[in-house]
Symmetry: C2
Subunit: 394 residues, 2 copies
């Protein structure tokens, strides 16, 4: 693709304020050390408080946080984990790496996320864990899902990578499950210089082992040291959980990213609200066009990280083609059902009974919807889409 | 330890120039996307050229680059990898994660790095790979080691995490082996905001698979796409090497770090030279004191990332105690022999025949030696150390 778009889908979701850029420069100049220091501790403390969880740990990205969560599951051979087929691949492959078999769950046709019903359908005697993804920024029905999971003694991982700041029945997305995952990737509603993630947990045993898993197995010595260098500055031990040993990683996030992340928490609610207001305007502009099926949710349960619609009449490809070629607007399709990627097919996870996910992917469009788009940009996208729709309707 | 040191060992090796800080601010404000974009490509191209290798790939840290290198080895059960016991744990544990057994190699008493002789001693029929660590910033005898490795058909990984810019017989450290590893961690001679790494390879098959291993298995579709969104924006496939499949990771480094890293390559030679000049002054100040055994190497073969000495007469602990308590100078000891950590002992790798490494660790001191120390700081450390030595000799 050599096309230059007037409005690209964009790999960057928002701009930084001058204050935030000043903070980045200041932290880069002054932080000592530049990793695993006071900015990390402050970011994690602020994040715990914002989400309402006992423990939060920064990671270098959300995929690494998901990898930690897969390690914490301590899968036995044959154990199954339920994951929506309609999500990004990082929600799923870490669980294969750590020994689970994946069973794909379908999504709700209106909300495009899993629900207790679609999960219950695929629970078996081997199910050990459930990954709930708050895709597009909409919070799934966590009360019902947690009740189901508790009744079956299953671990739940809430992948809130796209849902920072989302409220579900009075609690934040990510705060319900055993493990919460967050992303500060370049695409997300707030980003820590392009890469960054967070894992939150309630369990004290999980919280005890995560720092070792995150940083090369480092830990303290069991006995107090009379001198700081005897026998050594720091210990390296085998992370253990429930009698099983786990292997360490290096998933640390730098101090500058952490300083920025803490500052961005001050305006995530504002960004989310602005995106939702824009989404309402956008969606309502198509109220006379039943060919577009949006998920309209005018509350903090949706942060409209992305704005997507199902298009009727198999018009999807013609629609995107016209938007691209005639108006220079880059619409895309997301998320390729994971069971249809060669990666999962080759590993034996190519089968899914997820007709809603397949239908939605095959007929969906995702509009450019980054936070830094102007009012005029939005109006241009809406106006162009209405023109294309009118022509397709003939 | 609640001591506040006048001269701490420091978790940050150098300061940024105003131009570098401006660059950080500018890249944070303008990069689009904020990860995996043009700054990464430019950094990797500049790095390839600087080191003299065919392929260079940024990673989120050097431990992740070592993890990639362990994956590239494609170990069979029972395969052995030779690693110095005197190094940081990240040089070793990734190889255990990916199926190898570790055999520890001893170090040379003068250079404190492995050599062909100490490696050959522990080669067996099961040896598959050798990890050479250019510890403290000194380049090991790569010509001899590569000749040995080639004669036995062994893969070599050069861990040049501490040796960026070091010359060994006309080539850069990291350029000799099948795989080169570099670190831009907060402690290193140059740092990309505290975290960052690089892996270099010569082999085209390695180079083909690394981008997939680094970024969640992403790759292109086998057939050209008529429309950019059909069947999807990007593919996810199973990374394969020599008929074996490997599991992906997310080890991406952000654009701001990459922009900074490329700029820092312009002055790594200056920083290395300044550190070496300081090291010569430091070492020569103790020329009348045989109790200190430094490794003096006044050439670009040593970048003096760290400045260490062996102390005779079992004075080490008394020396560090006096430096700390009387002069507020934080000396430390490095690197705990890996076989003595509980991590390796519990996994069955607690035995090593490395008497030199053990002796060196038990009698060594590492001085504060970060690049931003002033001439007065160095003079104060030297003066204090001489006073302590005189008293210990008294």
């Amino acid at each position: 693709m050599s096309t230059t778009f007037k409005i690209p889908f964009s790999g960057r979701a928002h701009r930084y304020t001058d204050n935030e850029l000043d903070l980045v420069r200041e932290a880069a100049g002054s932080a000592e050390p530049l990793t695993q220091g006071k900015f990390r501790n402050a970011f994690e403390a602020k994040f715990r408080n914002y989400i309402g969880v006992s423990h939060a740990f920064t990671t270098c990205n959300a995929a690494s946080a998901l990898e930690l969560s897969a390690q914490l599951c301590s899968f036995e051979p044959g154990d199954e984990v339920i994951i929506p087929s309609h999500t990004y691949t990082a929600s799923a492959y870490p669980f294969l790496k750590h020994g689970a078999n994946i069973v794909w769950a379908d999504i709700d046709p209106m909300t495009r996320v899993v629900n207790a019903e679609s999960i219950e359908k695929v629970i078996t005697k081997r199910t050990r864990a459930i990954v709930v993804v708050h895709l597009y920024g909409y919070g799934a029905d966590m009360k019902e899902i947690m009740a189901l999971a508790r009744s079956r003694n299953l671990l739940v991982i809430e992948d809130a990578a796209q849902a920072l700041g989302v409220d579900i029945d009075g609690k934040k997305a990510g705060a319900y499950a055993d493990i919460g995952i967050f992303s500060f990737h370049s695409h997300k509603n707030v980003t820590t210089l392009g890469e960054g993630g967070m894992i939150t947990v309630h369990d004290e045993d999980f919280a005890r082992v995560i720092p070792m898993l995150r940083h090369n197995g480092h830990t303290g010595f069991p006995e107090p040291q009379t001198d700081y260098w005897i026998p050594n500055m720091g210990n390296v031990d085998l992370p253990e959980l429930g009698g099983r040993s786990l292997m360490p990683n290096n998933f640390c996030l730098g101090e500058v990213e952490c300083a920025l992340g803490a500052a961005l928490l001050d305006r995530i609610d504002v960004i989310n609200n602005e995106k939702r207001v824009n989404a309402m305007t956008f969606i309502d502009a198509f109220s006379g066009h039943d060919e577009f099926q949006f998920h309209r949710e005018n509350s903090t349960r949706h942060n409209y990280h992305l704005l997507v619609a199902r298009i009727a009449n198999h018009w999807r490809d013609d629609f995107i083609r016209a938007m691209s070629r005639e108006f220079g607007i880059q619409c895309v399709v997301q998320y390729y059902p994971l069971n249809r990627y060669p990666f999962y097919q080759k590993l034996g996870f190519g089968n899914a009974d997820c007709p809603v996910a397949d239908d939605f992917f095959d007929n969906m469009v995702s509009f450019p919807f980054h936070h830094s788009l102007s009012r005029e940009d939005h109006a241009y996208i809406i106006d162009s889409a209405l023109k294309v729709l009118d022509r397709l309707a003939g």
